[in-house]
């Protein structure tokens, strides 16, 4: 399988990228790691007249911490996240989630920016990015803006990115010390994408949940917060029953996907089970 022909551009600055995007309009696609885009182009399910490769752009690579914020350049790979001591220490949920994406080779090439901008509804990372309340930086002709993760994903393969914008970085507030976390997924056995994936960050004081942030992927056409579960958790004690009934709200607000691996009914039920298990694990980790 071979992609159709395209024009290839490898600019050296964000400004140039934006200029090319403006020139080429809808026919241009940004190429980062290429692990979502290239397979689609090989199957000729996606065709782009122009690919704008961002590999030469400066400043998209680092993982930095300052003032309680960890910032990842858009081109940071899943395996850099997985193996970063800083991330493992301060954002263990993110490291854990990155470590179960695809397979080792895919993680070596796939980038956080490319992953989020592609907005595959079954991708793992969006769940964690939402649960961690990340801010996503987009740069366009009028400068840069940030979008909260839970507002970034708009629909199937659709994000808040405007046609002339490029995703440059993702910033994570470091969760309070003692926060519990978990990412649990029911993996598709062939693609390894999430049939359902649940990311949880919460903190517990005196046996009560005082903060909770939950992102669910795979269930619907886009990853999203499980607001119902979050507020139910904040209402009561963390008994098995309370967790169970909070988790039962996981599918609320999602329009479940359906495919040959999992019906809507099964996805809904798995969202509940996996949410409950993720909460339980997060609670045991909180302290």
């Amino acid at each position: 399988m071979i992609p159709a022909k395209f024009e290839y551009l490898a600019p050296e600055s964000v400004e140039e990228v934006i200029k090319f995007l403006q020139d080429r309009g809808d026919n241009a696609q940004i190429l980062s790691g290429g692990h979502s885009l290239i397979p689609l182009m090989k199957l000729r399910l996606a065709e782009a007249e122009t690919l704008i490769d961002i590999r030469r752009l400066a400043g998209l690579d680092g993982i930095d911490e300052s003032n309680g914020i960890i910032k990842l350049g858009a081109r940071v790979t899943h395996s850099e996240i997985e193996h970063s001591d800083l991330i493992r220490d301060r954002l263990p949920l993110l490291a854990q989630t990155a470590s179960v994406i695809g397979d080792p080779q895919v993680r070596n090439r796939g980038t956080v920016g490319g992953n989020l901008a592609h907005a595959d509804p079954a991708s793992d990372l969006p769940a964690a990015v939402i649960a961690l309340k990340a801010q996503i930086e987009l740069v366009g002709p009028d400068g840069s803006r940030t979008v909260a993760a839970d507002e970034f994903f708009v629909d199937l393969l659709t994000t808040a990115l405007e046609p002339n914008e490029v995703l440059t970085s993702i910033s994570f507030p470091v969760p309070a010390a003692g926060s519990g976390w978990s990412y649990r997924k029911l993996a598709h056995p062939a693609s390894h994408y999430a049939v359902v994936g649940v990311a949880v960050v919460l903190s517990v004081e005196d046996g009560r949940c005082v903060s909770a942030s939950i992102g669910i992927t795979g269930l619907g056409s886009k990853a999203a917060r499980a607001l119902g579960v979050e507020s139910a958790l904040l209402r009561g004690e963390l008994s098995d029953e309370a967790i169970g009934s909070a988790a039962a709200l996981a599918p609320d607000g999602f329009d479940p996907l359906e495919d040959i691996q999992a019906s809507a009914e099964y996805r809904i039920e798995m969202a509940r089970v996996y949410t409950r298990r993720a909460i339980v694990e997060a609670v045991t980790r909180a302290g």
């Binding site: 399988m1 056995p189 062939a190 999992a262």
Partner: protein
């Protein structure tokens, strides 16, 4: 006899140095000067009439050399000869490029040839084919109905053949049984997926013939068929199976693409390469299994099975490939498995559907039989309240009953089934596990254990009984220096015959393993051959080599008799030397005999002995071989999600004498993985229009390492009396045994829910649904 050193020894493979360094050549690695690339235009419809084919846009593309359709090829290439059971099998002639109608998604309609594979791909997209879509016959049972869409309108039915075998008085026998149990099982379609897809390179020769490199298990059969199809004398056709990256039965065929690529190369007078991509492979390469089985088991109150009747509905797909109609008959042949069932009868309905043809896939017909039988063994045992292990034991054919004649006209060569079962019980710790199962159920955990006792028919086979040449050839050529070149017709595709056969010949002749080179896979080098499939290479190809080494030893004695000035009757061949019986110091080493055989300086001209030291033998077995064993597996099922965890996998197999234990175990590992794949992961999924929904490795699960476990293996050894080596064949054991063992274990785990069957593949969703459906009733 030489002291056996290499047979039965663990040795590193001769094949591996080139494979681990990337030095080997598979078909796509073949390079030729002026090579062209061919790409097929394939039907997006499962069933449609073909209208006009407009390839002007493709032909205009720079770099495109030619576009070929049926009209171009029809006079030069005959329809591909199809397999059939007998004259009553309805015809399903396939043309290399579709004629009039397409009958499956992926059927080739045109071929584009270009300078470069990128351009060929672009051009294929520019061929505009007009289709008039027709309703498709997809579900095999619905396809049998009179008002189903007809894959072949001219036949007026989709039932390509009916075939029966076994006891004609089966209904009486069932009636006399104390109890009769009826079950239905589905053996889903599988997609073989060797890691190397198919591929062909054809290089035309000035004499009008050609050389073809093709990724095949059967170069000699390809040679004969393609030569015939293109009306070229077969001695001008050379087929080379280079390194072949797995086959599992799907390269045991002669394919449309081989004919079309050869035609294109001959037409253009230039070498042409076609490499199947994975997406094509899913639809253009034969599938396996695809049966629905109805089974009735008659059992006496004491647990003795007295009658077994089955109906096999086989999903053939749209065309007959080489063995398409024949595969289900192997299920019928093996329907009684390892059990002494006096009355057995099968009727097979071979049914056309608008899908990829089914054909051999590792095990080919025997996994299906083992599946319906071993599932039924568990279900009957449960329904009668007998321990499933005890139920099997009670019905086993006893050692003294061999050779055992089955009601399905087959004679099992040898067997001793209980020791393998006993060893499996020991290794799985059956009693201990049952205790653990009880305790865990009390904790809401669902553990299960499953068994599968199997016997299969392999070592294909007696030519007359199989309706085509099934002998194998083996040549042993002693070079002047005493090095030995072995040529085998059993062309391998990963099994390691270069090693196994070198072990065999090393011991037979008493020469060092390192002195032996085994060649295969080139019809210009190997005079005769059939191929590697049906667990036959060691049985048939190995025996042919033993026949040849026996001849070499006899001739070596004749030559040595002149060197030692002794009568050949007084000579013995031992440890790589010929010596005078009783006078071991009067001896000539093998190397000296080899040199004399070539130089002929001692042997007198009037000796009547021909120079040279080479022998070729063709072995045509009188019967098949029947390896057997028992597999046992334990699992845990997550009752909330339906996910299955494999806890332990035990296999105790008996393949007769073992030539190369490490390779035998390797075959078992791979087969077990594929058998587990069928039980848990794999299955072709179609929509109602005949589109394959599981058409990529993103959708169809070929298991990866983290989805499997390490296996616990042991063996028993019951030699086959059918060949000089006592070997039985091991290539297919794993896929035959593993699938029902795993399903039995999962069903066993879910007994508390009252679940008695789950259709394969047992995906988490399927298991979850079964639990959910059963949850209201029966939960303990």
């Amino acid at each position: 006899m030489a002291i056996s050193r290499m047979i039965g020894a663990t040795v590193r493979r001769k094949e591996d140095p080139r494979l681990i360094t990337g030095a080997s050549s598979y078909v796509d690695d073949i390079r030729r000067v002026d090579l062209l690339y061919l790409e097929f235009v394939r039907s997006p419809y499962a069933h449609a009439r073909i209208g006009t084919i407009d390839f002007s846009r493709a032909a205009d593309l720079e770099g495109v050399i030619d576009v070929i359709t049926h009209d171009d090829i029809k006079d030069a290439v005959a329809p591909i000869p199809a397999g059939s059971l007998d004259d009553d099998t309805l015809k399903a002639d396939r043309h290399p490029l579709a004629h009039g109608k397409v009958r499956l998604v992926g059927e080739a309609v045109a071929a584009v040839i270009a300078d470069d594979r990128y351009i060929a791909r672009d051009a294929a997209q520019l061929v505009d084919v007009e289709y008039e879509p027709l309703k498709a016959a997809v579900d095999v049972e619905k396809a049998m109905e009179a008002d189903a869409p007809m894959v072949w309108e001219e036949h007026g039915t989709n039932i390509a053949y009916r075939y029966h075998v076994g006891s004609e008085d089966i209904d009486d026998a069932l009636q006399k049984a104390d109890r009769v149990f009826s079950y239905r099982y589905v053996n889903q379609r599988l997609i073989p997926n060797p890691m190397e897809t198919r591929g062909v390179v054809v290089d035309p020769q000035p004499d009008g013939g050609f050389t073809m490199w093709t990724s095949t298990q059967i170069p000699h059969i390809v040679k004969n068929r393609i030569a015939e199809g293109l009306s070229i004398p077969e001695n001008q056709v050379r087929i080379i199976a280079p390194e072949v990256g797995g086959g599992f039965g799907c390269k045991l065929n002669v394919y449309a693409e081989e004919y079309a690529t050869a035609f294109a190369a001959l037409r253009l007078g230039r070498p042409v390469k076609w490499i199947e991509d994975r997406t094509e492979s899913f639809i253009a390469t034969t599938h396996g299994r695809g049966q629905v089985n109805y089974i009735e088991v008659g059992v006496q109150a004491d647990g003795q099975i007295v009658a077994l009747k089955t109906k096999i509905i086989a999903d053939l797909g749209a065309y007959h490939q080489l063995f398409t109609p024949a595969i289900p008959t192997l299920s019928a042949t093996m329907m009684v498995g390892p059990y002494a069932i006096p009355s057995a009868y099968t009727e097979i309905f071979g049914v056309f559907t608008n899908k990829t043809p089914t054909d051999a896939y590792r095990g080919a017909g025997r996994p299906e039989a083992t599946y319906f039988l071993e599932r039924a063994m568990d279900q009957v045992a449960n329904d009668m309240g007998i321990d499933p292990v005890e139920f099997r034991r009670r019905n086993f054919i006893r050692p003294e009953q061999f050779p055992y004649e089955t009601p399905t006209e087959t004679t099992y060569d040898s067997g001793d089934y209980e020791p393998a079962l006993d060893r499996a019980l020991e290794l799985i710790d059956y009693q201990g596990f049952l205790k653990e199962q009880g305790t865990s159920r009390a904790e809401g955990r669902y553990l299960g254990v499953g068994f599968s006792s199997w016997v299969e028919i392999c070592g294909f086979g007696p030519s007359k009984d199989m309706g085509m040449a099934m002998w194998e050839s083996g040549t042993v050529r002693v070079e002047q220096s005493g090095k030995v070149t072995v040529l085998t017709g059993a062309s391998p595709h990963g099994q390691g015959q270069e090693t196994t056969f070198a072990q065999l010949v090393a011991d037979d002749l008493g020469v060092p393993f390192d002195d032996i080179v085994v060649l295969h896979g080139d019809t210009a080098l190997i005079n005769y051959g059939v191929g590697t499939f049906g667990s036959r290479a060691a049985v048939v190809g190995g025996t042919a080599l033993r026949m040849s080494t026996d001849k070499i030893k006899e001739k070596a004695k004749l030559i040595a008799s002149h060197m030692l000035e002794a009568s050949p009757d007084d000579l013995v061949y031992e440890n790589g030397a010929v010596s005078v019986r009783g006078a071991p110091t009067r001896s000539v080493p093998f190397d000296d005999i080899a040199a004399e055989a070539h130089e002929f300086q001692v042997v007198p001209g009037d000796s009547g002995i021909e120079p040279g030291l080479e022998a070729t033998s063709l072995f045509n077995p009188a019967n098949w071989t029947f390896p057997f064993g028992t597999h046992a597996v334990t699992v845990e099922v997550d009752s909330e999600t339906g996910e299955i965890e494999l806890l332990k996998y035990v296999a105790v197999d008996d393949c007769g004498r073992v030539l190369s234990p490490m390779l035998v175990d390797g075959q078992r590992h791979g087969g077990i993985a594929q058998g587990i794949g069928q039980a848990l992961f794999e299955g072709a999924v179609y929509d109602d229009s005949g589109q394959l929904l599981s058409g990529s490795l993103m959708d169809y699960t070929v298991p990866v390492a983290s989805q499997l476990l390490s296996f616990v293996l042991d063996r028993t050894e019951t030699p086959s009396p059918e060949n000089l080596l006592g070997v039985k064949g091991i290539g297919e054991a794993g896929t035959i045994a593993a699938t029902p063992a795993v399903v039995n274990a999962v069903v066993n785990a879910l007994t508390p829910f009252g679940i008695t069957d789950i259709e394969m593949p047992m995906t988490p969703q399927r298991v979850w649904k079964a639990i959910r459906a059963a949850d209201d009733g029966g939960r303990l």
